[in-house]
């Protein structure tokens, strides 16, 4: 049942995302073509698209997630909550779907950024000719330090962190939505939902930085040092927070009312 | 509730409708009756109501059920004749009661009936 729920959640939302990803890539292409290094500072060429695309990706993610969860509480909720699935399966499916879309959005971001950098570089090869020696030095250094392998390792190591953060983040969104749709809240749902999210997030993050004070990853030149104990604690912290919030979501839904 | 009155149970009214079909020979002995479902759809009523009407008709011997096939009009000419007689009698009683009260003579009454029949047949 869980797989079926995820499948249908994906089917319901993918048609909204594809045009947005296309838009992202278009934005990257247009940006690459229109950004003129003679007029702007060189730094602009990389900061603006980097942040521009990042913000666009973040907006896409947030919008997708909100639409996904909202379907539980609009008229479509009359279908979702009546399906022969437990609450746990229903909400877990939303979390996993959100995780999948967050990841695909992040990948589109990376792809768009690469397209931008690649296209821009291709169009302005003269720049690279100018800085040829410096670029060659950097590349040699990276190769010497096995940068690619290092990068792959970093990705793998941050994977559990990434997943637990999605779990935590999504559980928090579910709590906000669930709370706003109970009999406790009658008006200003968007505002209250946002406040609940910000408040709980603030408390949990603060607690984290007070309890777990050291960074667990430090980078010294090309050497990456990982404090595994801190890493583990941080992971467990967010896992526990996520589970707590997920349980809270389940509890709140016992008290909920449907809205038309 | 277009064709049914509100005061009498519907199953009785359905019984009445089916009896009329039989008396008029639109449904002949050994003819198969429509299924419960078909009747329920035709009259737009609950199937249980139809079931009850048919059970009652079975009980009085007008209809019999063959488990696997369905329900049939009984080959009971005597019963049908007596039912026909009863219903005709009821209507005639009512008519004569009114006309006698109006001091209409028997021959005037019969004349009126003849004319009414002629009128009706010309409409068909």
């Amino acid at each position: 049942m869980l797989i079926k729920l995820i499948k249908h959640d994906l089917i319901a939302s993918y048609r909204d995302l594809l045009p947005m990803y296309a838009g992202l890539i278009l934005f990257a292409i247009v940006g690459a073509i229109s950004l003129n290094p003679e007029v702007e500072w060189l730094i602009f060429v990389f900061i603006v698209p980097f942040f521009g695309l990042l913000i666009a990706s973040a907006v896409i993610s947030v919008q997708t997630i909100i639409r996904l969860i909202n379907r539980l509480y609009t008229h479509e909720g009359y279908l979702s909550h009546v399906l022969p699935a437990s609450d746990i399966e229903l909400f877990l499916a939303k979390i996993i779907t959100a995780g999948i879309w967050t990841t695909t959005t992040f990948l589109s971001y990376v792809i768009s950024l690469s397209i931008f950098v690649g296209l821009w570089s291709f169009l302005h090869q003269d720049y690279f000719v100018l800085y040829q020696t410096e670029i060659k030095q950097v590349l040699a250094y990276l190769q010497e330090q096995n940068a690619l392998v290092l990068f792959a390792r970093m990705v793998l190591i941050s994977l559990p962190q990434y997943l637990v953060n999605i779990f935590y983040g999504m559980s928090l969104v579910l709590v906000a939505f669930s709370f706003v749709n109970t009999s406790y809240v009658k008006a200003n749902k968007v505002f209250i939902g946002l406040m609940v999210y910000i408040l709980i997030n603030f408390v949990i993050e603060n607690l984290n930085s007070n309890l777990l004070q050291d960074w667990f990853v430090t980078v010294d030149r090309m050497q990456v040092n990982i404090n595994w104990m801190m890493y583990g604690l941080d992971f467990v912290y967010y896992l526990v927070a996520g589970l707590g919030l997920f349980s809270l979501t389940l509890w709140l839904n016992r008290n909920k009312l449907e809205l038309n | 509730m277009d064709q049914f009155t509100s005061t009498q149970p519907i199953y009785l009214q359905i019984m009445d409708l089916i009896q009329r079909e039989i008396i008029s020979t639109r449904l002949k002995p050994l003819d198969q009756l429509p299924s419960v479902r078909e009747l329920a759809l035709r009259y737009q009523v609950n199937p249980n109501t139809v079931q009850r009407a048919l059970s009652e008709l079975e009980r009085i011997g007008l209809v019999k059920s063959d488990r696997t096939i369905g329900r049939f009009v009984c080959d009971a000419p005597e019963l049908i004749k007596s039912l026909r007689h009863t219903i005709v009698q009821e209507h005639v009683d009512q008519l004569t009661k009114v006309l006698v009260e109006l001091e209409v003579s028997e021959s005037e009454c019969i004349q009126a009936i003849k004319e009414a029949y002629t009128e009706r047949k010309s409409h068909d």
């Binding site: 049942m1 079926k4 499948k7 249908h8 089917i11 319901a12 048609r15 379907r71 008229h75 479509e76 909720g77 009359y78 279908l79 909550h81 009546v82 399906l83 022969p84 699935a85 437990s86 009999s183 839904n253 016992r254 008290n255 909920k256 009312l257 449907e258 038309n260 | 509730m1 049914f4 509100s6 005061t7 009498q8 149970p9 519907i10 199953y11 479902r37 329920a40 759809l41 009259y43 737009q44 009523v45 609950n46 199937p47 249980n48 109501t49 009850r52």
Partner: protein, 229 residues
Amino acid sequence: MIEVKNVSKRYKNTNALDNVSFTLHAGQIVGLLGPNGSGKTTLIKILNGLLRDFDGEIKIDGKDIGVETKAMISYLPDVNFFGEWMDGDHARDLFKDMYPDFDEQRLFDLFNKLKLDPKQKLKTMSKGMKERFHLAFVMARKAHIYILDEPIGGVDPAARELILNTILDNYNPDSLVILSTHIISEIEQIFDSVLFLKEGQLVLNDQVEELRTKHQKSIDELFKEVFKC
């Protein structure tokens, strides 16, 4: 099949439901009647598991309300529950996946009878078409219990007849149909029994034919009498 014992749903100022008890069996078509605000919708939501917080006990086929009872019930709410982007094919895939009792052939027949196009998206349909669309899907399941909330409200006589025919055509002695409505006169002849809800209380629970004989009125007339202020 459905046992409701002393069920109440209390809010601060009012009782949406007040000590309601009744039992319903398979093979019946039951009318759940009452004016707006009488507790019909609350009761229906509780039976469907949309409202979990209530006093009293409910057993459906001996089970508490949960995943198993949800699988037994085919529910037609008074709102459209499919997304606007969906068409018949997508909705069919969804129902096929989620409900083992879904009958694709029956859906096909119903779509034909109700004159619906499986390729048409909901957002391009008229209000009446959307309602027929949802009815088709709910009736295409071979469920133990059908709960229809105001299926004929605000619908023209031709459509109403179509809907009643669909319900009657689908009837089987192993299923229970609960139909909630405030328009009684046009459909009272399809009920076996009726439940009258007034301000959260069950004021009447009886077989329809008995009521007609006893009170010498139609159910509609009886209803108006019971609910006149």
